[in-house]
């Protein structure tokens, strides 16, 4: 001892947890590392949700878990009691399993940590501090321009805290407790150091992950459970409540969100425990003294969260949503999104005019880059067509009007832009689709356009609709309300029902001489009716392939492509 005033022997402090009696050797350390992994895994999604960079690097939480898992696998069967040797193994495993940026940094922390413990039997106060210090240094050496507000900062802050605390205590468990709280503080400071975090209203994911590893170790020492996710209070801005689920579990009928001002300071653990009695998927946010609680409950508990919040304070807002309905909406939205082909500069981009969602989706699958909604009786404006392609990163654009009344608007749009726009004069949906099959986005625009034009008449188009007035055209007498068939735009027959009109049309088109008949059924016809008509077509044309697609177009019961 070089400080004589400290020579007076201090009374040995009472150990606060049973484990504190044991020195940290290799086997104890093994349990600690394992606890760190378990707790990190429990909180994996919390860490993942903090990602702010849309870099396709995987999620931070997952990467750190995989890195720690590799470290644990290295020691799981090791009977090693020497702390130096076991931490070497941990470092080796972490190195081999390092995934993503945060994983690599974590493995460097372990590497430095292990290096400092090289000749030690136990992890004691001084060697612990030293090891943290080395971990920090090794991690910082791995980068030219360290960015502060990341896991590196947290590593630095805990090393500094350990350095300060060693003056008060030599006990490694006490030190662990102090560095966990230092890590917590450091993590919450990361948004002040890194503006992207502040803008996104989150803390650094890697730093938070490191905190969970350390906290897991401490929880193990304290004998606290490691597999139960304790919701932490998050800033209100970081709460993501929309569609945060993929499926509904039993007992989750309603989503309840309650905002309230508590009368007294909230006893968080107790509050959380009470909520767990009521429901699941609990999230709690805080901002400006308002707490927002989000919970999924079964029908019989519908009002319990609100009643409970009322007992704690003043409820300012409450919202209830039926999860089953919400789920249906999610499913619907998901199926409604269309994947368009992305365009690279210099390539040919195509825009198709389509009257319904189903037809739009077929065009998207054929490789168009944008859809303009429109068709018979709903012609899009020149401006709408122009807007669809003006922002493409390429100069070459093809337009498929897919209706004879829209060709002019498309040609006008072509005049209004500096891009090289070619209108492929498709007069019907099937013609547009036939042309799309010939598109080579990387080809020479003039050649490709000529090729697409050449196939327009290879396909026969049938359209089935209801007559809006009585008239006689092309020798066919039509009464208002009858079902009429048009072949390539010309009226060919009128019938009393859909089935007769459809079969009659196919006959007029000599469908028996073609190979493929595709039916796009419209909004106003039921799937059952479609199926029964498709069946009779199959009976009539056994050698042709019959395809049925949802077209979603208004006015036309069927748009039929015969090729």
């Amino acid at each position: 001892m070089d400080a004589p005033e400290n020579e007076k022997p201090e009374p040995e402090p009472e150990p606060r947890y049973p484990m504190q009696k044991y020195p940290i050797d290799g086997q104890v350390f093994k349990s600690l590392v394992d606890a760190g992994l378990t707790w990190l895994r429990t909180n994996q999604q919390t860490v993942n949700s903090l990602n702010v960079f849309p870099v396709p690097d995987g999620d931070t939480g997952t990467n750190m878990v995989l890195t720690m898992q590799a470290a644990c696998e290295e020691i799981v069967n090791s009977p090693e009691h020497n702390i130096g040797r076991i931490s070497q193994k941990v470092a080796h495993g972490a190195l081999m399993g390092a995934r993503g940026n945060s994983g690599v940094i974590l493995s460097q922390l372990w590497r430095g940590f292990a290096h400092a413990l090289d000749n030690f039997e136990f992890l004691e106060g001084r060697s612990f501090v030293n090891a943290l210090h080395h971990g920090r240094n090794t991690a910082y050496r791995g980068v030219v321009r360290p960015v502060e507000g990341t896991i590196l900062t947290v590593a630095k802050d805990i090393a500094a805290e350990a350095e300060r605390s060693i003056v008060d205590t030599q006990d490694p468990y006490e030190l662990l407790e102090r560095i966990v709280s230092a890590a917590d503080k450091s993590v919450s400071r990361t948004p002040e150091l890194l503006s992207v975090l502040k803008d996104a209203g989150v803390v650094d994911a890697g730093g938070k992950g490191l905190f969970f590893i350390l906290e897991g170790m401490l929880r193990y020492v304290m004998g606290l459970p490691l597999d139960v996710n304790i919701a932490s209070i998050q800033p209100l801005s970081a709460m993501k409540l929309e569609n945060a689920f993929d499926s509904i579990e039993p007992g989750q009928d309603y989503e309840v969100v309650v905002d309230f001002h508590p009368h007294d300071e909230l006893n968080f653990p107790q509050f959380y425990e009470e909520l767990q009695q009521i429901g699941t998927s609990i999230q709690i946010g805080e901002g400006d003294g308002i707490y927002r609680m989000h919970i999924h409950v079964a029908s019989e508990n519908l009002y319990a969260p609100i009643e409970y919040s009322k007992s704690l304070g003043v409820v300012t807002k409450a919202a209830i949503e039926n999860l089953h309905a919400q789920m249906e909406q999610v499913d619907h939205d998901r199926s409604a999104t269309i994947q368009f082909t992305t365009i690279e500069p210099g390539q040919i981009a195509t825009v198709a005019v389509a009257p319904g969602l189903g037809i739009a989706r077929v065009f998207a699958s054929l490789g168009v880059s944008a859809i303009v909604e429109g068709g018979q009786t709903m012609n899009p404006s020149t401006q709408e067509i122009l807007n669809a392609f003006e922002n493409f990163p390429t100069d070459y654009v093809f337009i498929l009007p897919n209706n004879k009344n829209i060709i002019l608007a498309a040609q006008a749009a072509a005049q209004l832009t500096v891009k090289h726009v070619t209108v492929i004069p498709s007069r019907t949906i099937p013609q547009g689709m036939a042309a799309m099959l010939r598109l080579i986005p990387t080809g020479h625009p003039e050649e490709v356009a000529a090729d697409m034009n050449s196939v327009l008449n290879d396909v026969e188009t049938g359209e089935i609709t209801t007559a809006t007035r009585s008239v006689e055209i092309d020798g066919v007498n039509v009464t208002q309300g009858q079902i009429i068939s048009l072949l390539n735009g010309k009226l060919v027959l009128a019938a009393e029902d859909l089935s007769t009109a459809t079969l009659g049309l196919l006959e007029k088109a000599h469908a028996d001489q073609y190979e493929l008949i595709t039916l796009f059924y419209g909004l106003e016809v039921s799937r059952m009716e479609v199926d029964s008509i498709a069946d009779s077509i199959r009976k009539e044309y056994p050698r042709q392939e019959i395809e049925v697609q949802e077209g979603g177009q208004p006015h036309y019961q069927f748009i039929i492509s015969i090729e």
Partner: protein
């Protein structure tokens, strides 16, 4: 290099500008301690370069940008993880700045720096 037609003319971005973006992105990647000239014969002492055009090669072939990066990595890190993170970071930052897709980022690990552990 890359150009988009605008109403009043065109915008061109030089390979050097793209190299600078890639250079800064690569240097921010954890595990990369420096970039090195591509022209160095392997085996000769690694010289860390400060000029982005020496450690980075930007090729522009018609409509595809491809970037080659020559890096020195800290000894003791997992090289594949660091390299894939360089790949991701560079692609992300260049695409964000240019608004154009990057076809390829090739990371060439030209050497390791061994730091003193003590």
């Amino acid at each position: 290099m890359s150009n988009d037609n605008f109403q009043l003319g065109r915008i061109t971005v030089s390979p050097r500008a793209i190299a600078t973006i890639a250079y800064n992105a690569a240097r921010q990647s954890y595990g990369v301690v420096g970039l090195t000239s591509k022209n160095l014969v392997e085996g000769i002492t690694q010289v860390i370069v400060k000029d982005p055009t020496h450690g980075i090669e930007v090729k522009y072939d018609g409509d595809k940008i491809s970037i080659d990066i020559y890096v020195i990595i800290e000894y003791g890190t997992r090289i594949t993880s660091v390299a894939s993170s360089v790949n991701n970071t560079v692609k992300f930052h260049v695409e964000k700045a240019l608004g154009m897709p990057v076809e390829q980022v090739n990371v060439h690990v030209r050497g390791l720096r061994v730091s003193d552990m003590d």
